[in-house]
Amino acid sequence: GAGVSQSPSNKVTEKGKDVELRCDPISGHTALYWYRQRLGQGLEFLIYFQGNSAPDKSGLPSDRFSAERTGESVSTLTIQRTQQEDSAVYLCASSLVPTGTFSGELFFGEGSRLTVL
């Protein structure tokens, strides 16, 4: 597609359920990032993929969070046993960046708004 696509755009779930959020980056973009934005907070880095590998998982807030990327394309962020504090907008971004350089232009999707009741 022309831009980064995320689904679902909105997800309401009950505490304790698992959720999966999907990101389709721009075709050819090797780098993919997940951020989280809680109400009144800035963007919080979660995880970075270069190709299919995730050299940096340091931002994942707990072991309930995991992410994978396949075929250097689609990525899924999974949250197990959701808690109310997981409520946030989850943003995905991609960039065309060779390893070792970074121009700073991330292309963001519109986000997936997660509400945990």
Binding site: Y35, G40, P55, G100, G104
Partner: protein, 116 residues
């Protein structure tokens, strides 16, 4: 560790008035600095960036920002705002994570509200 401070969560301004959105950063290494904008119901998009060279950088829609190393600031300015500039503005700094890659650390954002 890098951090970004945007002191103003909201800036109300009248149309055609000047505006300044403040951004200060903290970093122990050299930085690249960015402003991203999020219009209502849209994703974040890059507005302008400082990588090197001239400390004054400009966007195509009239915004400019100046990198001030001594004050560790990268304030965003526009001499005359339009209604269509209403959006949330995020300042960001490069976070070098080693092994040749980096991510961006963002501020909390400033909501610019332009009224007639």
């Amino acid at each position: 560790a890098q951090s970004v401070t945007q002191l103003d969560s909201q800036v109300p301004v009248f149309e055609e008035a000047p505006v300044e959105l403040r951004c200060n950063y903290s970093s122990s290494v050299s930085v690249y600095l960015f402003w991203y904008v999020q219009y209502p119901n849209q994703g974040l998009q890059l507005l302008l960036k400082y990588l090197s060279g001239s400390t004054l950088v400009k966007s195509i829609n009239g915004f400019e920002a100046e990198f001030n190393k001594s004050q560790t600031s990268f304030h965003l300015r526009k001499p005359s705002v339009h209604i269509s500039d209403t959006a949330e503005y995020f300042c960001a700094v490069t976070h070098w994570r080693g092994e040749g890659y980096s991510t961006l650390t963002f501020g909390k954002g400033t909501m610019l509200l332009v009224s007639p």
